[in-house]
Symmetry: D5
């Protein structure tokens, strides 16, 4: 993984900053690696945010998420770290990230993290 994957995130100007509105982005093809077992993890990341001055550019978000492909990282860290990176890049009015991981050992895990400005 590159030193600072968050630098991959690009933004464009929100053309409607006077309005409070919601953008939901669903990424069902997230994959990373479990740091304990070395086995790949798979999940769906759903971002829901109200932009302030900036919106995230979708292709750059895809490249950013792909930077986790071969990185060893736990579920809770994935969710909190990615939210933190997006919040730093977008400074949104509010943002929620729900990460739903596929079953391991018959057990599924979903992590939900919220940022309020």
């Amino acid at each position: 993984m590159s030193e600072n994957p968050a630098s991959l995130l690009e933004t464009f100007d929100n053309q409607f900053p006077q309005r409070d509105y919601v953008i939901e982005i669903i990424c069902p093809e997230f994959t990373s690696v479990c740091p304990k077992t070395g086995q790949p993890d798979f999940g769906t990341l759903t971002f829901t945010y109200t932009p302030d001055q900036k919106c995230v550019e979708l292709k750059s978000l895809k490249m950013y998420l792909q930077s986790f492909r071969n990185q060893g990282i736990f579920y809770e860290n994935i969710t909190n770290s990615i939210l933190n990176d997006l919040v730093a890049a977008l400074e949104p009015r509010r943002m929620k990230l729900v990460a739903s991981f596929t079953p391991r050992g018959g057990i599924s895990t979903n992590v939900t993290v919220v940022h309020e400005k």
Copy 2:
């Protein structure tokens, strides 16, 4: 696209203005063109509004939405601009527009915009 597609929108008189009620209109056949790639985009637009004095005539709404067929426009602009056009034509008590676009590069986007009188 014609100079002013909003002029395609026609209205009829709300026969029950003394009552606060809700009309939901689901348009699953919206298509426009991505201004960056030139590729067509596809989505479902769902309007939910409380009419004041005017309701939107459905056939005119269909013609209005078809005026975007070959227009290059981004997701956020589609949703905000169409809401603005409808609000200008109908002056509703409140109106919500949810635009759900089909996946691109494995990523789906929904935009939700609300107008309160």
Copy 3:
């Protein structure tokens, strides 16, 4: 259609008027005629009400809804007029009517009307 279809509605006494409770009645076989095109419309009507002294008798409700079979009437009028007829007949504590019509020209419409005593 008969002069006054609302006269078809029959009621029976609510045996539990001291309790606030909810009756939901789902009628997926509603059909009327579009006054503009002369084409039949089809929809599902869902009534949700809290009875006061009277409940609607189901067979009479069916006959009442069938009186619209060959009547030309718009979506908004269907929903508001039927709610008004039911409210007049039942004097319920509250009543909601959701009318969901099948797609026309690729567009579906749902109308939701609420009465509060």
Copy 4:
């Protein structure tokens, strides 16, 4: 039907009375007889309650519900009477009963009754 079917209901002591928690019991095999037509009715009863000192024993609940098998009784009476019997037997902190009956003449009916201590 026996004189007093409610006597079939048995309870056991709630082992966790200091905690407010919820038990949901779903009975999709309820059947009784329509008193007007003599035809059988079918429905799903869903009980949701917060026990106080007593919980309902499931096998006794099944026997109690079976006592309605050949009894002529209307939808509203089924729902209100069964809730009353359960409330009398359990004295719960709160209890909701939703009864969903299968379509008759193309029309489905659901009745929802709530008891608060």
Copy 5:
């Protein structure tokens, strides 16, 4: 079953204690034995909690739940006892456990228990 199955539960440090967030863990392969009939019970346990200083380690949770495999225990006890064990081990800010059991005699049961710090 071992004397104290709760000792099987292991935790790791919550790396984001300054943030209120939610972890949902879905375990569809729970099984125990009915103490009255000796027959196996099957259910899905869904934990939803906000960690404080500790998160539950998933493999240890699996081993803990497996310790009930041949234990005779009623639905209400399963749900309340397991919540109590998790609360003792994790001291979460809040935790909910929903246990959904498969039908017995045509009747399904769900138990929902909540702990607030």
Copy 6:
């Protein structure tokens, strides 16, 4: 149960006997009683037949099936006996009966019986 429930079955003349065609009748509200446990059984009966000279009248089929409501009879007997009664009454070119019973003890049973003229 009446002595000879099959006498309840009524037929009407097939108006299209020169054509081989198929009538499927789905009856999801069948109920009888288990002769061993005395508990009610519930199932869906699906008849698929090619009429020869006679078709079954639907209301009489309903009354015939209701005659099993309080009769003690095993799954295999239900399916074979009912097929035999229908075959005797209709003399169809061919007939299939699929009986799907709801779970008991976590186990569901379907029985499929076919008659060829």
Copy 7:
């Protein structure tokens, strides 16, 4: 109903008669009247045919099916008669019609009729 509704059916020339191919037309908004009870019936008609020299024009098929709206006719007659009318108008290589009617008295009926040239 008009004297000869089949005269409503219009055809257009099959542009690809040298190829055996299949056209499926699904009409979920069929309604007629039960001649015994006078109550409306509702169903979905699905036509599957291989055209020879002629294809059915869809708008004319819709008008033809609407001619049954207030006609009293039994399920088996609907299906056989409509197939006969279509076969007479189109002379297809083969045609199947499946008519699926909504439940009456808890019982659903599907009729399947096939024509081979």
Copy 8:
């Protein structure tokens, strides 16, 4: 596990041996133990058979399947061995067993075994 779990299987006489018919039995609550990892496995077993002189008694089948609860056995052995035991006990005209196991490491396995007399 008992020495010879197949001895748990009981049969009753097929009352309709002159007819070739099919009994399907669906058991979604099968569980055993993986001999390699010691972890529990879960699956659905679906039996489909044509009885000759004997049918399997359902309660005895349940007890027989429960005898695998704490036994270490691989997927292929489960399916083949259970089919063999049933075939020995019932001598059916034909029998199929489909065993569908829940995912392990993101991979699901189904095994299908058929016996023809």
Copy 9:
């Protein structure tokens, strides 16, 4: 539309011509224009083919299908013409095209065309 849209189709060499295998390509975003009404049509095209020496390059297929975006063409022509273009470009061992169009006037149409070498 360009003069000869079929020229947009590009192929690549089948690396496994010694094996008969099947490629299925599902294109849910097809749109063209009805030549009679001028209204847009929408459908899903599903290609299923066994390649001989050539496979279709997916991006070129997308561009080819987009060439129909503003072309007036009937359902049957779409399906037969597109199959013909693909067959000419790929010379497959066999190819099937199923085109499923969204409802118009409450009626859906699917066209299935097959080519055998």
Copy 10:
């Protein structure tokens, strides 16, 4: 990727070689890289085979499939090559592999390859 990923595949002896039976293995977490765009691809691989003397060990199959994680390879090559590797390792009586890939540019692709001994 290692030089020879097929060497990762391990087998165990089929304990029931005298019987023709079917093992289906569903792997929904396959991922590789598109050699043209460098973007990750995602798909579900479903193996269906009749073992002869050898069965594939599931954990080794998982490791083998993971060896494609960062390899650039086209859909058709994935499916044919993986089938070839499995056939070489298992020498099955017959084997089918269906590979279903997620949409790219609004288009989904499934490839089905069959080997017969």
